[in-house]
């Protein structure tokens, strides 16, 4: 997968838990164009191991002199975000993928309802720049835990004015999805990015009100879960490799020098799908991509997030 060489131009502590990073091209030239909702995957080498983490681009798509991302510190995770917070300094160099958009705005929508929870605000930052430029009708509903966690509330207030609605959990403000989704004009699309419970409720409320599925858009990249180690065999590259507890199958495949496809690395897009040729154990599917029937068939697996409990898992790669 071709990558872009960038360096860190600026770092800003936005809240106690969120840092904002600005990347520019090492040679000072402009970066590839992108559309609102796009993300890039950044490679971090931590303790001799390569982590590849996806982050939404949050700058305006009109400005390609720099890319902007924000990272929330996740203590109980595999260390990518903690590394970004504690070890990354201005001037450091990284390789990132070209931007990919798995959360694009529906062009034909008459109105856009954006729903963000916490750090889930990031993909909306670039979408809002697009919506403002197009003069589109939209509302942004932004829920966060406490006033000090509303990372971008102030900035958004300036851009969005009364299109912004904030819900601060600590003062008892709640977003009522039934009210919100119960009376939207025909042709409205809804987009959600945030914690799982929020995504699930939006999907459910929209379905109960009879919203067509293609009017409901979600961005939900999972972090690869930590699990038990297991062994896999790669049929085409003729290799047997061990997948450690804190590494995903995809990372283990890459670490073995085998090139594999991916886009989101979070079980959402389906790009990394591998055929399961043989197995003597159980597949532990974690992705949001495969249907339940596909999961049960044990014929396919998403190595970016899914794992297995087995001695033998022969993959077609």
């Amino acid at each position: 997968m071709s990558t872009i060489d960038v360096k860190v131009a600026a770092i800003e502590q936005v809240t106690t838990l969120v840092k904002h990073f600005t990347f520019v091209k090492e040679d000072g030239s402009v970066l590839p164009a992108f559309s609102g909702g796009s993300h890039v995957v950044i490679s971090l080498s931590i303790g001799g191991r390569v982590h590849r983490n996806p982050y939404s681009l949050m700058g305006s798509p009109e400005d390609t002199s720099a890319y902007h991302i924000s990272v929330r510190r996740q203590e109980r995770s595999r260390g990518g975000s903690v590394y970004m917070h504690d070890n990354v300094t201005v001037g450091m160099q990284f390789k990132i993928t070209y931007p990919v958009n798995l959360f694009s705005l529906a062009k034909k929508a008459r109105k856009h309802i954006l729903i963000a929870g916490g750090i889930g605000i990031t993909p909306f930052m670039s979408q809002i720049a697009d919506l403002e430029r197009l003069g589109a009708d939209y509302e942004l509903h932004y829920a966060f835990r406490a006033p000090e966690h509303g990372a971008f509330a102030e900035k958004l207030n300036k851009t969005c004015g009364n299109r912004l609605h904030c819900y601060i959990d600590s003062v008892g403000e709640r977003l009522d999805l039934s009210v919100l989704l119960g009376n939207q004009p025909l042709g409205t699309h809804v987009y959600v990015c945030g914690p799982n419970a929020m995504v699930v409720s939006v999907l459910e409320v929209a379905r109960n009100f009879g919203w067509p599925e293609n009017h409901v858009h979600i961005e939900q990249f999972l972090a690869p879960p930590i699990g038990e180690p297991f062994k896999i065999q790669l049929a085409r590259s003729n290799k047997e490799i061990q997948v450690p507890a804190d590494m995903s199958m995809l990372e283990a495949i890459e670490a073995a020098g085998v090139e594999a496809d991916f886009l989101c690395r979070g079980g959402a897009c389906g790009r990394c799908e591998l055929q399961v040729l043989e197995t003597d154990g159980a597949l532990l599917h974690h992705d949001h991509f495969l249907t339940d029937a596909e999961k049960a068939s044990c014929k396919k697996i998403m190595p970016c997030v899914s794992r297995a409990k087995c001695e033998r898992l022969l993959l077609d790669i």
Binding site: K108, A109, R110, L181, G182, N183, Q184, P185, L186, G187, T188, H189, R207, N208, F209, G210, W211, P212, N214, H215
Partner: protein, 200 residues
């Protein structure tokens, strides 16, 4: 006829059934679509509000309008032409909310006129339930002169614009609500395959 493979653009029509999840329902029907409407009302009615727009054809054999007045509990409006139904539809669309479910039954050209109106309000044709009734007669657009000829019931039909004999294909334009027609005797003028009625 093209057999053995499926043309992706060819529309799929089903029988109308109520959506369970909805905030309201709007059914648009024309002429013989009245039968689809009667069948629909045989099913258990949904809880939400139902509105029905029906274009009656006074010259048709069966008078559905009369029966419909008895069967449809409320929200029925009967019009004399398709055009009036489409105007009424255009008028209500801006006042409607997400969760409105759309159903249409009638001729192919009526179905796609409804779909075009809905599209202007951000509704995709996939979200409209469609039942084709009465006739399979095709509207055909001539790829040579762009003219649109209505009610072609045969495999080969004469273009009303340029007079070419057109082979009626399964390729369908949703925007035009018409099938593609290609000159059939381009290579050997005047030599035509047998003309058969296949879209009665």
């Amino acid at each position: 006829m093209e057999r053995g493979y499926w043309i992706r653009s060819k529309p799929v029509y089903t029988s109308l059934v109520w959506h369970e999840k909805a905030t309201s329902h709007l059914v648009l029907t024309q002429d013989d679509g009245g039968m689809a409407l009667l069948k629909l009302f045989q099913l258990k009615h949904p809880k939400q509000a139902i509105n029905v727009l029906y274009a009656n054809n006074p010259s048709s054999k069966v008078n559905y309008a009369k029966t419909l007045e008895k069967v449809v509990p409320e929200g029925l409006q009967i019009f004399n032409t398709e055009q009036e139904v489409l105007c009424a539809f255009n008028d209500v669309l801006p006042t409607m909310f997400m969760g409105l479910r759309l159903y249409v039954a009638g001729s192919e050209s009526f179905i796609w006129s409804v779909s075009e109106c809905a599209k202007a309000h951000g509704i995709e044709d996939a979200d409209i339930m469609k039942e084709l009734t009465g006739t399979l007669a095709r509207t055909v657009y001539c790829v040579h002169c762009k003219a649109i000829t209505h009610d072609i019931t045969t495999n080969i039909g004469k273009c009303c614009g340029c007079g070419r004999m057109l082979f009626v294909r399964d390729h369908f334009s949703r925007r035009l609500g018409a099938y593609m027609g290609l000159m059939v005797d381009a290579e050997s003028p005047g030599v035509l395959p047998e003309i058969e009625e296949i879209y009665p």
